[in-house]
């Protein structure tokens, strides 16, 4: 029997799959959104999902596997209901991301890559900067932002998770992206002229 027929979400979300396919001039482009759909349904992407998606868009399972393995946000094994990802790139790193990871490991009683016994929380780190460098160290909870995560805020975030708050609600409280006021800014430096950078270059060497 074809995988399309046996994978439950393919039947359950048939209308949505049609809509996704209709958004693209070529079916193959729908692989990534369909992978997300599978992950939403199952929590991760199983081999049979790859087979089913391959059938839907007209590629082999091996091809689908080659695609899914290229990207870091697809899970190939079960994860917790909440996935905490700690940014470990430059600014978060300088502001203590490694200590935060240690703190979370201790608090949750798991190592990076593991899930709490109750299946609630998975702890991950990412080397990709998550674009929250104005509030380091930053984390994401199911891809929603939490800023300036001190141990106290980490405690509060985990408490919110245990209370059953949604990632969106948690980010409303702990997230956001900053814009600093610049209206009325007046340049104090002399007007830019072409020779300035050249002088600097000469001074350099």
């Amino acid at each position: 029997m074809s995988a399309k027929a046996t994978v439950e979400w393919v039947t359950k979300r048939a209308d949505e799959i049609e809509k996704i396919l209709a958004r693209y001039p070529q079916k193959k482009s729908a692989i990534m959104p369909l992978l997300y759909l599978a992950q939403e349904e199952r929590g991760y992407i199983a081999d049979e999902d790859l087979e089913a998606i391959g059938e839907i868009v007209g590629v082999t399972k091996a091809y689908a596997e080659s695609v899914v393995s290229f990207y870091s946000l697809y899970h190939r094994k079960p994860v917790g209901k909440y996935v905490i990802t700690v940014c470990s790139n430059i600014t978060c790193g300088l502001f203590g991301a490694a200590d935060l990871v240690k703190y979370l490991e201790q608090k949750l009683g798991i190592k990076v890559g593991e899930t709490t016994e109750d299946g609630l929380i998975t702890l991950l780190t990412t080397g990709e900067c998550i674009a929250a460098c104005d509030a380091a160290p930053a984390i994401q909870v199911n891809l929603e932002y939490c800023n300036s995560v001190t141990p106290e805020r980490a405690d509060a975030i985990i408490a919110a998770i245990r209370e059953g708050k949604t990632p969106e609600q948690i980010a409303d409280e702990f997230g956001g992206c900053s814009l600093r006021p610049t209206a009325g800014f007046v340049r104090k430096a002399p007007a830019v002229n072409e020779s300035e950078p050249k002088e600097t270059e000469q001074a350099d060497g």
Binding site: Q26, M32, Y71, C133, T200, E201
Partner: protein
């Protein structure tokens, strides 16, 4: 009268995610003007005249890029590059989450100008909130007749498909983006052919960054000559500088292009805890470092390049005297080694070599031979690959080696990092 923000106007005082609020500040008037009073050619000309340059990092003139599309009757596509993932950059995220209609309006006007068949927003997977916001904004725009079939009663129709990426830095490279959008691994392609000639599905395609497209509505609304009153002659307009690292007030700052690091630092409250500036990167992880002597270099495309770095994404990272640049190099080395797509040997192997060597220095175990290998990166990695990731992976390391050789030497002591200091207290935005 001082500076007036253009792209971030209203953010913080009004909820611009709501289309009614966006309209009340004059939103979608530029689209109306373009569609009702201008031909696509006139819109294109206005953008060309404005001198707008690509904000994704390369600074290529947008109007010139649009002009590369062959007029051969094939379908054309507009792709908005919203895969913002250059480390230390968070300005696109601001626009997407807080001013989504400006981006949508910019896409629609640009799509009209280049006669696009369909538009795509290739959105970073981590921007889950941005995805929800854009999807809602697109439906609001559709309900108002700004998007879909026969927009505002004209012959112009356009759909915008938001495509969620899934965590791969290289997809921010425009041809990697196209490979990914076609349903594949996000591997960059050789250029030429450039996307304008053979892009998405082999069709003529324009890929423009979020901030680039967000500049288009104000240009159409107020005209190229007004636009040129902002910024510098060769780098007109404003730029959202994302400032982070060791400053008192990190965050996004929209400023005229060509402001200096000294001015940015002053706005950002200076170096953290009154410490001394050691070095800074003007344009994300890929940019070579600049020094305190470069505080007065205008941070525009050509001046940053002339000073030996690049404006890039304007992700400004500040390092003070307490920051170990070897440790910093380690974050970047880990990152580039992880994000190399592996197609090209010099990049796949080279980024791994850099990582191993920097790891050795970080452990105080660097050797003379390591230094020689690093010094040879210019020859072994730069210009040797399909895309610029390999080059980018070398820039920071090489600039540290050039300006702070003593820091490498201090990490050859056989012991640990000589600069290990207590971790910085958490930032508050």
């Amino acid at each position: 009268m001082g500076f007036e923000p253009v792209l971030t106007k209203g953010i913080g005082s009004v909820d611009l995610v709501d289309i009614e609020n966006y309209e009340s500040l004059g939103g979608y008037q530029a689209l109306r003007k373009a569609l009702k009073q201008m031909t696509p050619e006139e819109v294109h000309q206005e953008v060309k005249d404005s001198g707008l340059r690509g904000r994704g990092g390369a600074g290529f003139p947008t109007g010139v890029k649009w002009g590369f599309l062959p007029d051969d009757g094939r379908p054309r596509y507009l792709c908005c590059n919203a895969d913002e993932s250059e480390p230390a950059t968070f300005n696109n995220r601001l626009l997407i989450e807080y001013n989504p209609h400006l981006l949508i309006e910019g896409i629609l006007i640009s799509a009209y100008a280049i006669k696009s068949t369909q538009s795509f927003i290739y959105l970073r997977g981590e921007f889950k909130r941005g995805y929800d916001i854009l999807m809602r904004a697109i439906e609001q725009a559709r309900a108002k007749g700004y998007l879909g079939k026969n927009i505002l009663g004209t012959d112009f129709s356009q759909e915008i498909t938001v495509h969620r990426a899934a965590g791969a830095y290289i997809c921010g490279e425009e041809t990697g983006l196209l490979s990914s959008l076609e349903g594949g691994r996000g591997e960059p392609r050789l250029k030429p052919p450039f996307p304008a000639v053979s892009g998405l599905y082999g069709m003529p395609t324009i890929v423009n960054n979020v901030e680039t497209l967000a500049n288009v509505p104000p240009i159409i609304e107020r005209g190229a000559s007004w636009y040129r009153t902002l910024g510098t002659e060769k780098s007109p307009g404003t730029k959202i500088y994302s400032v982070s690292g060791m400053v008192e007030r990190p965050g996004n700052y929209e400023l005229p292009l060509g402001v200096t690091m000294r001015e940015i630092l002053e706005l950002a409250g200076g170096v953290r805890n009154g410490r001394k500036l050691k070095a800074f990167q003007p344009g994300g992880a890929s940019a070579p470092i600049l020094l305190p002597e470069h505080l007065d270099v205008p941070l525009d495309f050509e001046s940053a390049a002339e000073a030996g770095s690049m404006l890039g994404t304007a992700g400004v990272v500040v390092f003070d005297e307490t920051v170990c640049l070897i440790k910093t190099a380690k974050y970047y080395a880990d990152f580039f080694a992880h994000e190399s797509c592996g197609q090209c040997t010099p990049c796949r192997e080279g980024t791994a070599w850099i990582k191993r060597i920097i790891d050795r220095f970080e452990a105080g175990q660097g050797t003379k031979q390591d230094l020689e290998i690093l010094a040879g990166l210019k020859r072994t990695m730069q210009g040797a690959t399909i895309c610029l990731l390999a080059d980018a992976a070398t820039f920071f390391v090489l600039s540290v080696l050039e300006h702070f050789p003593e820091e490498f030497e201090a990490h050859m002591n056989g012991k640990g990092c000589p600069m290990d200091l207590p971790v910085e207290e958490v930032q508050t935005a």
